[in-house]
């Protein structure tokens, strides 16, 4: 099935490239998701040693996690300059807000320690920055699903096109989702009071996140005909049925992990839930990069550019994944109260 009439490299390269960018975005959502989530939950830990422990649990990783965002952004520029040139101006406001929020939370990691004992404002910066960044990402996700107005070869809409009840709902949903992921991370990586608080938070967050998944799954087919056609026709319904089934299984698995003494199971199930939800959204959208007008093929960079970058990616991404695993392995185990990684 090839709707484009393209053949060979011109057909396959954009698909591979989109796959790699999709992977980068998924890595970002999962990895920065839990460390943004830890920031979102920061105010739930009233005592300073608890906050130290919370922050220490992500401090060695956050920078590497956030680099996936840069790879996603530059990957879009490299692979699909047309889509990049349309999406960025369309989301000007939430994008700049997200970047500034990330500035706040990023510097908080270092400033908070240097500023002690006068570090209260960096606690606020960390929590507020994480929350605003997550919310803006949700806004953009919602805005992208709703579609972008394209005129000729550039963005043709208004500054606040992305603002709608649906995108606001997505913003809140993503904050809840990241908080849920962050809570599961803390259950796995911390001990003492922090672990107990995180455990108490994780289950209501899990239920709320599932409620948002259901809400999106109902709202999008009702609001967007192309998504209804994608999911509720045969044989697609059969092909895509693992998505809801896996969601239920992973949710049950996560719940059990949180109930019992299997915090690792709970965290990985939460990651799995995110990945499945992400796949569901991708299935709703392909082959569009900018729904409902620009497909991966229309937006693709010159084949020569895609080959050049893919050659590098095929070598570098496995290496990056390798040393990422190494660093997570190095800092494995629980962070205990009053204990840094030193």
């Amino acid at each position: 099935m090839n709707p484009t009439g393209l053949t060979g490299a011109e057909y396959w390269l954009p698909i591979i490239m989109a796959g790699v960018i999709g992977l980068a975005v998924a890595m970002y959502v999962v990895l920065d998701g839990f460390d943004l989530g830890v920031g979102i939950l920061f105010p739930c830990f009233p005592e300073e040693p608890q906050r130290d422990q919370t922050m220490n649990s992500v401090a060695p990783f956050w920078d590497g996690n956030e680099t996936w965002l840069v790879l996603g952004g530059t990957g879009l520029l490299v692979g699909f300059p047309f889509a990049y040139a349309v999406i960025m101006p369309a989301f000007y406001v939430p994008l700049i807000a997200m970047l500034l929020a990330l500035v706040f939370r990023g510097v908080a990691f270092e400033f908070r320690w240097v500023a002690k004992p006068d570090h209260h404002q960096w606690d606020v910066a960390f929590a507020a920055g994480s929350t605003v960044a997550a919310f803006c990402q949700g806004l953009m996700l919602g805005g992208l699903l709703e579609g972008i107005h394209v005129t000729g070869d550039h963005f043709g809409g208004g500054v606040f096109d992305w603002l709608s009840p649906f995108s606001l709902m997505c913003g809140v949903g993503l904050v809840v989702g990241y908080a849920f992921l962050g809570a599961c991370w803390l259950v796995m990586k911390t001990s003492g009071g922090v672990e107990q608080i995180a455990r108490r938070l994780a289950r209501p967050l899990c239920i709320t996140f599932l409620a948002f998944i259901v809400l999106v799954s109902v709202w999008t087919p009702l609001a967007f005909e192309r998504i209804a056609a994608r999911w509720f026709t045969l044989p697609n319904m059969l092909y895509f049925s693992p998505v809801p089934i896996l969601t239920v299984l992973l949710a049950v698995h996560c719940w059990r992990g949180l109930q019992g003494k299997h915090p690792t199971t709970a965290f990985y199930s939460a990651v799995g839930l995110f990945v499945v939800a992400y796949i569901g959204l991708v299935l709703s959208t392909v082959p569009y990069l900018v729904p409902p007008t620009i497909t991966v093929w229309q937006a693709a960079a010159a084949p020569k550019s895609q080959i050049f970058i893919l050659a590098g990616m095929s070598v570098m991404i496995p290496i990056i994944l390798g040393y990422t695993v190494f660093v997570y392995h190095t800092f494995r185990g629980k962070v205990r109260p009053g204990e840094g990684y030193h």
Partner: protein, 490 residues
């Protein structure tokens, strides 16, 4: 296209990238310095190298964090404000930035975790390796971003179809004509900048009679770097200038405020360029010296600004003054380096009061020179964003002036506040000095431990400068070194 939006978008990019460049320039030098200190410590076992490495690592962490967070907005600004540029040049410079992310950003960001938090968690050799990888990552990052930037100045290895650039030869894209010169010039500038900061910090401790062992090491390493790299930078700058004359003659004409090519060129030492009248006022110039510098011959000629149509001229005044500021600082750094080398040779480097007082106040010189140099080269590329391919006024996104104005105001406000605080913290860390005793190298006979080693005797964030440190880790307080071999220049 809205002319106000254009101006505001240019201001926004200039502001955000100027703020950004300060931190990577410092981080490139500082990561190499920390790696050097750790290697020296590993090889000699002298505690003060370790103390210094830990001290500068704290400062590096703050600077690096500011570099990261101020850099992420840049990779998105190409799209938000310069969508047309992304579309026209994306096929060619997009992959270069992609390679920067893959080969440099991940490397430095990931191993930074080990470098900052691994002091007692991984074996010493692995920690030193992590520090070297971070330093390598910062240099690789410089390679790619300077390649992309150089391509905007001297595009090569591409062809245009319907106004969009397509790559023809990646080798010629990456190693475009100005890249080797720009890369060498900028990396040297980064190492010089950091050397001046290290030197100034060392001088301050000696003047305060605190941390004198460390102060002497910093003085010697700083002076050694300045004495070597300062003159080298002069040579590199000269070569870069010749390269620019070949590929961007309008930029050179503006740098020299050289209006008419009517004979051998003067070297204009000072002038008030009058762009409307196309001449200099209040000019002080040395005949023939301009030709000698730029053509390496007494009678050499090169194009004047009037040889270019008005709509292809870069702004003259700002380029003229920014370039002179950069060169003046460069000369000052060479003087500081050579004077220090002479004092060192006479054995008086660390005891000469006037010299210590001067260098203790000199920490900012490199940063200003870098900003002035970038202002020169980027303004000199105008009115093009990609030289000869796309004019700056054609490169902007379809955004309104109001949108750009609001985001610019936010950037100015937030960067102004946050980074002032960051610089204040760095200043305070330097003021507090390399306190705390060196930690014994940890060895793990059976590989890595399962859990963090630190328990009862490891305080939270001890290595990040929180005093007091616990008695469990403290060894003898740093005694002034009497062993001359200890402080030798690497």
């Amino acid at each position: 296209m809205d002319p106000h939006a254009l101006l505001l978008a240019r201001l926004q990019f200039a502001f955000t990238i100027s703020f950004h460049i300060i931190f990577p320039a410092f981080s490139i030098g500082l990561s190499a310095y920390v790696a050097t200190l750790l290697v020296l410590w590993k090889r000699t076992g002298h505690d003060h190298f370790h103390r210094l490495a830990r001290f500068w690592t704290k400062i590096f962490a703050v600077s690096f964090a500011m570099g990261v967070v101020s850099g992420i907005p840049l990779s998105y600004e190409f799209g938000t404000n310069w969508a047309r540029f992304s579309l026209v040049a994306g096929n060619v410079i997009g992959p270069l930035i992609g390679y920067e992310v893959m080969t440099a950003f991940f490397l430095e960001a990931t191993f930074l975790g080990v470098m900052l938090f691994g002091w007692q968690r991984v074996p010493a050799w692995l920690h030193v390796t992590a520090a070297i990888l971070v330093a390598l990552g910062t240099a690789i990052s410089g390679f790619w971003i300077l390649s992309a930037n150089s391509w905007m100045h001297t595009p090569d290895g591409y062809e245009l179809h319907a106004g969009i650039a397509y790559p023809v030869s990646w080798f010629r894209v990456i190693f475009n004509p100005s890249f080797p010169y720009r890369f060498a010039h900028m990396m040297t500038a980064a190492y010089l900048t950091t050397s001046v900061v290290v030197l100034a910090a060392g001088a301050r401790y000696l003047l305060r009679r605190e941390f004198e062992t460390e102060g002497r090491v910093m003085m010697r390493m700083g002076v050694g770097m300045l004495a070597l790299l300062g003159p080298l930078q002069l040579l590199l700058g000269d070569q870069h200038g010749l390269n620019t004359l070949q590929h961007q003659p309008a930029k050179i004409a503006a740098i020299e405020a050289h209006w008419d090519d009517d004979g051998p060129a003067d070297l204009v030492l000072f002038a008030l360029p009058d762009e409307a009248a196309a001449r200099n006022r209040a000019e002080i110039a040395i005949p023939h010296l301009g030709s000698l510098i730029l053509t390496h011959s007494w009678e050499g000629r090169f194009a004047g600004i009037k040889d270019f149509p008005r709509d292809q001229r870069p702004p003259v005044t700002s380029i003229f003054f920014a370039f002179r500021l950069m060169v003046a600082i460069g000369m000052a750094l060479i003087a500081i380096g050579l004077a220090g080398a002479v004092l060192w040779w006479r054995g008086k480097l660390c005891t000469t009061g006037w010299y210590l007082h001067i260098v203790a106040r000199a920490w900012w010189l490199g940063f200003v020179a870098i900003l002035a140099g970038w202002l020169t080269t980027e303004s000199g590329r105008q009115p093009y964003v990609a030289y000869g391919i796309l004019r700056t006024d054609q490169a902007i996104s379809p955004v309104s002036a109001a949108t750009v104005a609001v985001s610019l105001a936010l950037f100015v406000l937030i960067y102004g506040v946050l980074f002032s605080i960051g610089i204040y913290y760095i200043h305070r860390l330097i003021w507090n000095g390399p306190k705390g005793a060196a930690v014994k190298p940890v060895t793990f006979p059976e590989g890595l431990p399962n859990r963090p080693l630190a328990t009862a005797d490891a305080p939270t964030r001890e290595s990040r400068g929180q005093t007091p440190h616990p008695p469990g880790l403290a060894t003898a307080p740093p005694a002034p070194s009497t062993d001359p071999t200890k402080d030798r220049q690497p």
